[in-house]
Amino acid sequence: MEQRSGSTWRMTVNEKKFIEDALVADLRIDGRRPFDYRRITIKFGREDGSSEVQLGETHVMGYVTAQLVQPYRDRPNEGTLAIFTEFSPMADPSFEAGRPGEYAIELGRVIDRGLRESRAVDMESLCVVAGKSVWAIRVDLHILDNGGNLIDAANIAALAALLTFRRPECTVGGDNGQEVVVHDPEVREPLPLTMHHLPVAVTFAYFGEGGIMVIDPSYKEEAVMGGRMTATINSNGDVCAIQKAGGEGVVSSVIMQCLRIASVKAADITSKIKNAVDAYNTERALQKVKRQSSSVAQNINIPDVTMKESNDDNASASNQTEMLVDEPERISKSEVYRSAQTITASIGDSTKRDKDTTMIGGPSNWDPYSKGISLSLIRSPKPLAGPVAVAKEQNEERMTQNPGEPNPEETTLPNSGPVESSDVSQRPSSPKSLKDAVKPKNRRKNKGAKNTS
């Protein structure tokens, strides 16, 4: 279609040569060393079984659902697992909506092979009534941003989603022992899936007649590479799958070296995934305990607008000028973040950053907590690097620029470097709710209603 041809991106000869020459000198264009991963961020959604993974610029979302179906005839007491990959057109202008291209199918197959044939997910525990009903697990992977190395990112998203997924508990009853009763999650705690091991995919790219190889290629490196190999390995050192489809020929000694490197990386990534999942599980457990207090706090929660009213009352002229002065500083800081992100992009370090859990129930919804902070900051004479002025609401996210100030994950607003802001670890939000309870609240909504009714 002619409307798509305008959007194909072609790499210039200069760029290609530059990347290849730099690789000869062991330099990559984003500053990494040849065997460094980009920074991995794993976040979880509100529901069980939904994960968002960012590997450098690549962004993938995973979502797991389950339903009761009839099993296959030849496996009457095993559940089923199906992987669906969606190459959303938002990830890359060349991805078309509708039919998946060959790369999409290859990605789906590699992840599927890694999970199913290595028996990572325990299928027999998914059986409810042999031959009649079993659980069918469906994993949807949505590629949101194509920054290179989709296979690894999608694999991590699938694993994270499977580890945090909870299926409803069901009991078999009835007169002939064939009736299945699925219990509501509120009544009986849903159960996690049994995962025997975590197969992690590690992708290598080859350049220059197979002489040079790098791990975790970025988008531009993928456009230049001669060949690619993906090795799916678990932390025990078992090779679950290897995929090398065409491309440059590579000597077998190099392949063996790659596998050795891959097993080290796989162990590293496995520990990151486990840390993120553990953090999520503790949050979830706390959430269940806190549910009573959460409803109280939400009562206090006011839509953003009302805070604006009270803030306008409180904000002094000095605060406003302070905000104006800090604006350019904040903007330049955000620009610095953006450029830093593209150039250094980080090296796969195993910091504890990936235990950011956004959107776990209440906290991310609770703007009032941050409002609590901002109002208290007005009162206290503490100088902040970021803009303090609370003349407008939604300056909680400005606090994200301030390294010391924790922030409710991706809340609000235009951070040009949202990856950075999300790195700030989640703050305990309960103390703030009390402060907020004291504040006078103007119900602007009610005011509006009073005017109209």
Binding site: M90, D145, N365
Partner: protein, 239 residues
Amino acid sequence: MRAMGMDRLDGRNANQMRPLTCSRNLLHRAHGSARWSQGDTIVLAAVYGPKAGTRKGDDPEKASIEVIWKPKTGQIGKQEKEYEMILKRTLQSICLLTSHPNTTTSVIVQVVGDDGSLLPCAINASCAALVDAGIPLKHLAVAICCGLSETGSVILDPTKVEEQKMQAFMHLVFPNSPLAVLPEGSSSKHDEPFEHGIITSVTHGAMPERGYFNCLDRGRAASAAISEFLRRSLQKDGS
């Protein structure tokens, strides 16, 4: 203070919306992207700027907008096609179509979480993404969902559970309130303020006429608040 005596599950009163968050410029490949969340309903929208050529039937004198709606799970069915059509018509009315004739702008919407009020959340996200991409717009679109119960009371921004219990609910899209330099000048020109126009109204369920107009009034009041929030969040970045 309880208006209408309604006690909602999450503790809000009838006129309270869930907390809004909007973040832009999240994706690196897309020309513009925005993530809008209202409570647990989260939508990610991405925009790819004008590409050459329109689709076969479309008018080459104007730009055309293409919307792709991606649900969280499952096949694309009629519901998604309907959302695409509504979103496309809404965005067509806010974009300056004659500034880039014979081009196609793609808007891709990905549902990240659905807890009621999904279509308004998507419209808000798409509008923010269009701004992020720099597509010329006449004005912004602000969307809100109102529910009408059997007793005739209106609640704003219902959750999924509330939507199912309501007798009727509707999605309303209004233009955002303009910021005029001379406030007197703008109001004297029109009988009715500009922001009282309705861009889109989609209703589900049967409702009495007065109920519809009540919802409209409530929706307008709320849209003023949302448009303030949107303006502030778009101005924040400055870039």
